[in-house]
Symmetry: C2
């Protein structure tokens, strides 16, 4: 049975705890807040029915959670460390250095940071080469995505070890070759979030209208096809190539407050080729059929859930 | 049996045809393209199994579709007209004026435009007061959302008639009080689309990584909770108020190329109050439980569909 140390046990750290427990691991958690243990156990209790329904791994049990009194106790037997402390740079720098000090050598230490680069966080650690970003999504026990990326001082093998470790727990891993503030998915959802805030600030739409426009609109497509493959299907039988060649100029429309990039030949070709690679031989017709079946199932799932 | 005229029968117009037929209506379509009828019938055939599975209305049949030879023939018996022509302003202006000329008085004429305001489209029509925007999402036979908004010359009752008509066909209708380019959902998805294009253009992420980051990440939440209610849950038990009060400063982080609005007290309170109104008495705990159940069902639906 693998042992994972979870440092920080709030919404995200606690979500990781639930995930690792459900995958049959032993988890040692540490959090300096006085009421952390009570909140953590409540979070795990709340998540457990969902995790049970999804299917627990062999030997998975809430009893495999223990609470350490010190950071050193938490990491002593750990084969992997997941840090999920509050999103403050100086705090993360110091905490990662502290974790590094007390964790057995060669154990990879990952940070759940939602936006800092490891390069800026690893500055105080003695062994910065084993520090990586492993950014999850709320709730970490249900959303598969983890974005993995190292800093300038991180060794390549630590990135690979973290990616393998997460994959072994059933996660969808994206290994990023470059550090970008906010990584990938947070940049995308932040762009939407900021546009939403602008609309509320200007009285253009209410909070409820904004949310309804997504849950009953494009949000129904996004678990099936991401934003780019979605537009591959919006161009009809001509796909993304048709879409960009015909609607490219509308990129300049004042439809959001975010300026569009110049639609160069290179960008156009990258997006078209990327969509074709992703479609992986599936025709637009195949993709439409797949999307339609999935949307129906998703709508049913959401409706049954409301009922 | 109600009769609807669908002017323009491409991906969107054809999707509307499939939707209205499935809701038991008679549809008369008109499209000047020489191969329009063949493409339209193929689109309806492709959509019909999905619509049958969702449940057809009484008397729903593909045989209730007829193809008109002229625009006047298409609208002669129509009780509602849906225009879905290519997205070119001058074309829309002229076409809407032409439709207005041949359509019986008091029939509401809606445009599927994905971004133009009715104020700029209704300039050439003799009876601009019955022209409204009724903006659907692809595919219109599955995605419930329709954004309804009038122009400066549109009478209020036409907006209400259109909203009632769409609701009667099972649609989720958002009536906008103000014209905003791109309406609501397109502004939100365009902000994401532009940020995605910037990332591809800068070599920060591939098309496949971008799509995977959504389908296996935040995309799984959006059919359940829109972007704002999603963040209501990201703040833990303190909800959106905690989120804005503690993470407000991170709005300034360089996480997207879209600048954030100033987080004034007014904006903060609007968003917090909006989330509470939307939560409608449900605690964060209730919302988390509902979200988790829905995400599991959605993941199952998507996986079964892939298998």
């Amino acid at each position: 049975m693998k042992t994972v140390a979870c440092v920080g046990a709030g919404v995200i750290g606690g979500g990781w705890v639930a995930h690792f427990l459900a995958r049959g691991m032993r988890v040692v958690a540490w959090d300096p807040a006085p009421d952390a243990e009570e909140k953590l156990r409540r979070l795990v209790d709340a998540a457990w029915p969902a995790l049970t329904e999804l299917g627990l791994a062999d030997h998975a049990s809430k009893d495999n959670l223990s609470i350490a009194k010190t950071l050193a106790e938490a990491t002593a037997d750990a084969e992997f460390v997941q840090e999920s402390a509050p999103e403050k740079l100086e705090l993360k720098q110091k905490l990662l250095a502290d974790i590094d000090d007390v964790t057995p050598p060669h154990v990879v230490i990952a940070s759940s940071t939602s936006g800092y680069g490891m390069t800026e966080m690893q500055v105080a650690a003695k062994n910065p080469d084993r520090l990586v970003v492993g950014h999850p999504f709320n709730p970490p026990y249900l959303i598969p995505l983890v974005e993995v990326v190292g800093g300038k001082l991180t060794r390549r093998s630590a990135v690979e070890q973290a990616a393998d470790f997460y994959r072994g727990t059933g996660k969808t891993v994206i290994v990023m070759e470059r550090e970008v503030p906010g990584f990938i998915a947070n940049r995308l959802q932040e762009a939407m979030w900021r546009e939403a805030l602008h609309m509320v600030a200007n009285g253009e739409a209410t909070v409820e209208q904004i949310d309804l426009s997504i849950t009953d609109g494009p949000g129904l497509r996004w678990p099936v096809h991401g934003p780019l493959l979605t537009f591959h299907l919006a161009g009809g039988e001509g796909g993304m190539a048709h879409m960009l060649d015909h609607f490219g100029p509308s990129l300049k429309s004042p439809w959001t407050r975010l300026d569009a990039p110049e639609l160069t030949k290179h960008l156009r070709d990258s997006v078209v080729q990327g969509c074709l690679a992703e479609a992986d031989g599936r025709s637009i017709e195949d993709l439409v059929e797949q999307r339609d079946r999935a949307i129906i199932a998703i709508q049913r799932a959401v409706r049954d859930n409301h009922a």
